[in-house]
């Protein structure tokens, strides 16, 4: 097999893995959009906030220590204990549920029945607030997040592929873990939505708020639940991305990676987020590979391009949209006059 094809296969596999990571972020958007029609711009910041809280709890940081020290002249930093990862994740989840409750009670309960763009704007306000709040609570220096996930090249795949192709493929262990986690997460979410009482109620709310309300479903409860679920997804995404790069401000920008995924998969479909993620991941990585490779693009077009991933993801999604304006798995848009 020609060398470039083998390389292409490696890029393809890595694209799939990257796609899963994008899909993890996109899932949070889909959950909230489906149940309440809110396009939650704050999802990225929620991931950052969740990761910051997790690290803070694990390291035993004193929240708001900088503020307290500045105001009272004290010198607080750490409680001096270390919380095991599992317990810290649970505690973080408690914080995220509390956050969901606060967000719903203070903001979105007052904005029921508003235009989509108003709700979108409210989430932007929330994003601003959380950005400042997270930093003031935990400090804005870079933090190492280690919950015990493996990182680095997977030896088994490397050796196996080396035997077959004479070139060992690089697959990151973390990506493999992320894929498994994402698969479990999606499976659990789908099962939850299909078979549990609350899940059914959630789908009912997604279909029609008023009808759901009239059969006795508590909208408030469902919305808090959905935001909590999104918070959980944000926490998972925050752990995966935070392990890779450390926990710091740029983590909130991963939302931008999720937007083309959403567009492609449709705002309302959980499987859509996964499939969209995979297509975007593979598409942008392969395009970058082909266009930046002297041996392929250089031969074919006589020039090479690099750092194309950011815009190509959007262009790819745009091309799909021109043919399917509601995304691959979105609900068909039916317009009546």
């Amino acid at each position: 097999m020609p060398e470039q094809v083998i390389f292409g296969m490696e890029v393809f596999l890595n694209g799939l893995m990257a796609g899963v990571l994008y899909a993890l972020v996109a899932l949070g958007f889909v959950l909230i959009y489906k149940a309440s029609g809110i396009f939650n711009y704050a999802q990225g910041v929620m991931a950052l906030f969740a990761a910051l809280t997790l690290v803070g709890i694990m390291e035993g940081q004193v929240p708001f220590s900088h503020l307290i020290n500045a105001a009272l002249g004290t010198d607080l930093h750490h409680f001096g204990w270390h919380v095991p990862a599992f317990l810290a994740i649970l505690l973080t989840m408690v914080v995220m549920v509390a956050l969901s409750w606060v967000v719903n009670t203070i903001i979105f309960r007052h904005l029921v029945n508003q235009d989509a763009i108003i709700l979108f704007m409210a989430t932007i306000g929330l994003a601003y607030f959380l950005e400042g709040f997270g930093d003031i609570m935990w400090g804005s220096e870079i933090k190492k997040l280690d919950v015990g996930l493996p990182q680095g090249i997977n030896g088994l795949i490397d050796e196996t592929t080396f035997k077959i192709f004479d070139y060992g493929f690089f697959i990151d262990n973390l990506d493999i873990v992320a894929t498994i986690v994402a698969a479990l997460l999606v499976g659990a979410l789908v099962a939850f939505a299909q078979y549990s009482k609350q899940g059914r109620a959630m789908r009912a709310v997604a279909d029609d708020h008023q009808a759901a309300l009239s059969v006795g479903i508590s909208l408030n409860f469902i919305w808090v639940m959905v935001w909590s679920l999104a918070g959980f997804v944000a926490l998972v995404a925050g752990i995966m991305w935070g392990t890779k790069s450390g926990v710091q401000f740029s983590l909130s920008l991963i939302a931008l990676k999720a937007l083309p995924v959403l567009m492609l998969g449709g705002f309302t479909s959980i499987p859509g987020a996964i499939v969209g993620g995979l297509i975007i991941g593979v598409g942008e990585k392969l395009f970058e590979f082909i266009m930046s490779s002297q041996a392929i693009a250089g031969e074919l077009f006589g020039f090479t391009l690099s750092a194309t991933e950011n815009w190509f993801a959007y262009v790819l999604a745009l091309i799909f949209l021109v043919f399917r304006p509601q995304g691959l798995f979105g609900e068909k848009i039916i317009e009546r006059v």
């Binding site: 390389f7 490696e10 890029v11 890595n14 990257a18 220590s65 900088h66 020290n69 002249g73 010198d75 930093h77 930093d135 400090g139 804005s140 220096e141 870079i142 190492k144 997040l145 990182q151 680095g152 090249i153 690089f170 990151d172 991305w241 890779k244 790069s245 450390g246 710091q248 401000f249 740029s250 983590l251 920008l253 991963i254 990676k257 990585k285 970058e288 590979f289 930046s292 490779s293 690099s306 750092a307 991933e309 950011n310």
Partner: protein
């Protein structure tokens, strides 16, 4: 009510001007935003050193230093706001710590007559003091950095790197593009193959770039990264098992923040430096005594001894020395911005001076002149020791390839002078 609000509003704007002080220095820091992790230690070091001078010596030459901090968030618009808000207070020198803000301030500060010190960043051709009268970038600049990295590679290979391959992985911005031209010239001179790999802001996702490095197996990788791009790149390098001792970062890619999250795998990573590292200096004892223990440390106070803290302190030290020089030259303790410029232009850093202030062997010796605002391009290579958790210098200070760089600087500054109608000021 409305008028009340309006008055309060106007009063709040006016309140921006603090009381006139003796020697005003502005620290345009960024403790928020995508680059906060890098901005915090630098700013802490910068401030702590001036606080030390105030507390221990009663300022410089008997004049207290008034340090004004202004948060930019690495945002050019806020940078402009900071500059305009503070420039009326007889500010002696600006240290923007952002290439973008530097480019904005070069024409403004030149018109207003306030010196800029862009230490190891900013516009490289500002080294030519003939054209850039008010801008200083001593002791080293980006092109020195590119050349220093190549010289280090040359040294490791016995002076011959013909046919070797070097990949530059860079932040796809003005900052990251700086070394390209120098590296291209050097590749012509030394015969190595140069590959360019841009990474878009913020650099959270670099799989494609590192897969390419893994496929092409370059002999060396040189990095021009900033912010989150650094830890991700080093993590990916560890993941693909790239030999870390062949991976060299510019000085802005070599702080503890960048390597710590990659753990033990990052051991052996190299980064350039133009000043010494660690906290084994007499001045640290004084900082502990007069600043930290007195509760006057800037920020949280936990950054002492880190690479970027030292860099901030070094910048403050250079500014303080320039103030001293200016005070001696003009025979007055209360100097103006124009006198400060003279002080910076006649600054001479010697080993004796550094030892006297408690920083022996902290940086290279250099001398600024009217034509040369950029020092002599001396730097060293540091290496990360993961077990000890610190960067250590592994070479002496050595000089960059001045033949190549000087010519590039002449070209670039000449085109700037032509574009803006500047005549030589020396």
């Amino acid at each position: 009510m409305k008028t009340k609000l309006l008055t309060a509003f106007a009063a709040a704007f006016m309140a921006a001007a603090p009381a006139l002080a003796e020697l005003t220095i502005v620290d345009t820091s960024y403790r928020t935003g995508p680059y906060a992790a890098n901005g915090i230690p630098f700013s802490d070091g910068y401030q702590d050193y001036f606080t030390l001078l105030n507390e221990r010596d009663g300022g410089i030459g008997g004049e207290m230093i008034n340090l004004v901090e202004c948060e930019t968030g690495y945002n050019t618009e806020k940078g402009v706001e900071c500059y305009e808000a503070t420039k009326g207070d007889d500010v002696l020198v600006y240290q923007p710590l952002s290439t973008g803000i530097t480019y904005q301030l070069i024409p403004k500060a030149t018109a207003d007559g306030i010196p800029l010190h862009t230490m190891g960043y900013g516009r490289t051709s500002a080294k030519n003091g003939d054209v850039f009268n008010w801008v200083f970038n001593y002791p080293a600049n980006y092109w020195d950095g590119a050349s220093l990295a190549v010289t280090h590679i040359l040294d490791e290979n016995g002076g011959d790197i013909n046919g070797k391959s070097i990949t530059l992985i860079y932040h796809n911005s003005a900052y990251g593009k700086e070394p390209i031209r120098t590296l291209e010239e050097l590749s012509k001179k030394h015969g190595f193959n140069l590959t360019l790999l841009p990474v878009d802001h913020p650099g959270q996702e670099q799989k494609s770039q590192w897969l390419q490095i893994r496929r092409e197996k370059p002999d060396y990788v040189v990095m021009w990264g900033w912010g989150v791009m650094n830890p991700v790149a080093i993590q990916e390098a560890v993941n693909i098992r790239y030999p870390m001792e062949n991976f060299i970062g510019i000085w802005w890619s070599g702080s503890e923040n960048d390597v710590k999250s990659a753990g033990a795998g990052a051991n052996g990573y190299k980064a350039l430096a133009f000043h010494n590292l660690g906290d084994d200096y007499p001045v640290y004892g004084d900082i502990q005594k007069y600043v930290s223990d007195a509760g006057k440390a800037a920020g949280v106070g936990d950054q002492m001894g880190t690479v970027l803290y030292n860099r901030g302190m070094y910048a403050a030290m250079l500014a303080a020395e320039a103030i001293k020089t200016a005070q001696e030259m003009h025979g007055t303790s209360k100097i103006t911005a124009a006198q400060m410029r003279d002080g910076m232009e006649n600054l001479e850093i010697t080993e004796a001076k550094m030892a006297a202030i408690g920083l022996p062997n902290f940086g290279p010796e250099f001398k600024v002149s009217c034509e040369n605002h950029g020092g002599n391009g001396f730097g060293a290579v540091s290496q990360w020791d993961a077990a000890a958790g610190e960067f250590k210098l592994i070479t002496e200070y050595y000089q960059s390839d001045q033949d190549v760089i000087q010519q590039l600087i002449e070209e670039d500054s000449a085109s700037y002078a032509a574009e803006n109608g500047i005549e030589g000021g020396c």
